[in-house]
Chain length 203, copies 4
């Protein structure tokens, strides 16, 4: 019998290693060999788990999507009030720390580039950035609409408002990455969501 290996665990280990290198060096500059080293295995072994560099990339993309999405849902579920729900959702969107993906955050702009291009060239749905936005708009929009029904929020365009929240979230990420030491991601987000809600609340 061959060595018994938890293939799923190993696969995730490689993926994690890859994400770190992607983040640190950029996708194009990432060598498969470096990924292997980081994962503590030989070059060839990576290919036992992932067909190609591209597949590794796709998986990284998915990994982030899934985990971020799940965090947002979970945090929103903790609250009943639309106001709190919305706030929790937005803050979770930006709470990369809780995902233990601190050193992986920088992969985002690369994935954005990749996602945008992929779509334009291949129409490859596996990488559709927009899908993410659609999902989040749904999530945040739900809270917004509830708030409007309850009369807590004024009549606003829920789609536009959720888009704005996501936009701010992404933008804050960017500024944080541009200057991690001095830019306080969490605080900026909190300040913003307060301001934002003041803007949409009745009263």
């Amino acid at each position: 019998m061959p060595k018994k290996v938890d293939r799923e665990a190993k696969k995730e280990k490689i993926l994690r290693a890859a994400m770190k290198i992607f983040a640190r060096q950029g996708i194009a500059e990432t060598k498969m060999e470096t990924v292997a080293e980081k994962a503590g295995i030989a070059k060839g072994t990576v290919y036992e788990y992932f067909k190609s560099k591209d597949e590794l990339l796709q998986m990284a993309f998915n990994y982030l999507i899934v985990h971020m999405n799940s965090l947002v849902r979970q945090r929103m579920a903790e609250f009943q009030e639309p106001e709190e729900k919305l706030k929790a959702g937005f803050l979770a969107y930006v709470d990369i720390e809780s995902l233990n993906l601190n050193d992986v955050a920088q992969i985002l702009p690369d994935l954005w580039s990749y996602g945008i291009r992929q779509k334009e060239n291949d129409g490859d749905m596996a990488f559709d950035m927009n899908l993410i936005y659609v999902q989040y708009r749904e999530l945040l929009g739900g809270a917004l609409r509830k708030g409007m029904e309850n009369g807590i929020f004024g009549q606003i365009d829920a789609r536009a408002a959720s888009s704005a929240l996501m936009a701010a979230g992404d933008g804050f990420y960017l500024q944080w990455m541009a200057d991690r030491k001095n830019f306080n991601l969490k605080k900026s987000a909190e300040t913003f969501i307060e301001l934002f809600m003041r803007g949409i609340k009745t009263r």
Copy 2:
């Protein structure tokens, strides 16, 4: 002097060509030869004007910075009232169309990646993303502070507020690039700035 002008013109032509290819194919996938073709010259000639692919990149980065900055300044200068100034500044930030850089927008995420990484690795200031943010914070912050002095805006953290505006701007770009056909960049920005200003204005 005509010599000099010609040289500058040709250099810009190459730069423009490069930006288009960078945008369309991504930086890593862009071949110097393709740039040359697009610029209507021979491969070797690119090197008469730019030392390396990296310099071409730096120049592209600068080109965008300078032009966007100048547009924002100019638009803000057209108004006196802090409220209008702020609005004009934000909308200009997002008005890529006026820069005739429509087909170049997609270069942004790539430049973001590059800028972030450059800083972390080389500490290369030529690519400091943060510089841009500092500049814009200055610009928008000026209008905000003026408004607070005038009692138009409530007492808020000007730095945080400008950051939020830039964040939203960048984020809107992203959503627009992810789905150009259905996402209305201009309208989203306008809706947002109204909402935002409602949040900071004194009654």
Copy 3:
């Protein structure tokens, strides 16, 4: 002893599988893993029976030699008359069908290449193409000489004549492989041997 038999049977099974794949995909393009799959075993197991891909190749070579040789001998033994013997030998040489090696025939040119090169480089006798020719020349030459003694065949160079027969046989193979559908191997061979014998028979 059943152990021994099983082992031999399995070995042949693998060899047969290998030959099929060699024939279908070419030697260089044949992966050990594919061979294993075809044989219904795991990759590593192939190595329990064959030291290396090269050994597999050698064995395939031998397998063909031995089986073809044996067929030719057997068919020739069925006749007494030199004329019939010669004809039977030539037709057997070309009767790949009877060897149940129809789908393996295409391996021949590969083995020829291999054999020729092997000799020039390593002087490896295990692969000596020429050995085959020497054997067949012996076999066919025997019938020819007998025929000359009997006065059935004119005085000819037996070596040259057997060479010619083998040459034609190999060549017909080639044409058949190049166009299996339209080239009738058997008929071509029969027509040829008649013609050939007319050339060497005394009136």
Copy 4:
């Protein structure tokens, strides 16, 4: 202005180098770098002239076809009598020496393999072995039919006879390659064609 280079000449130089290496080492074992070295250039330069190893192969194939074909035509044109024409054609078919391709001959079995496989897999016409046979059948068949009309040759199947001649030619090659030192290709061919013509000539 760039270095002036006779691209066609250089291309042929590379092709010749490649053919030599293909012949000596076998196609699969041939490294592009070795080809480059043999041609006295750098690895990358090969790719300036040939898109890929496969293209190099195709070109080698064509090169042989064209040159062999032209030699045969030329030699046959030197004679009027069908008998001489046929003999000249056959001997030219086998006269690799006159093509200055002595050290390239061994490439043939590899090309045969390749050609046969190519056809079965891709249906790639660029490599159709059969095309060659069709051409030669035409050429030799012409002389045969003329001879039959003239009553020099008996009524035989021209197609079958030309096939047989080509078969013998290819087969002699093979034996010669298997044992260059002892096998006299030219003499074998001459002996054979005499014998063959004796078989088809009317008394």
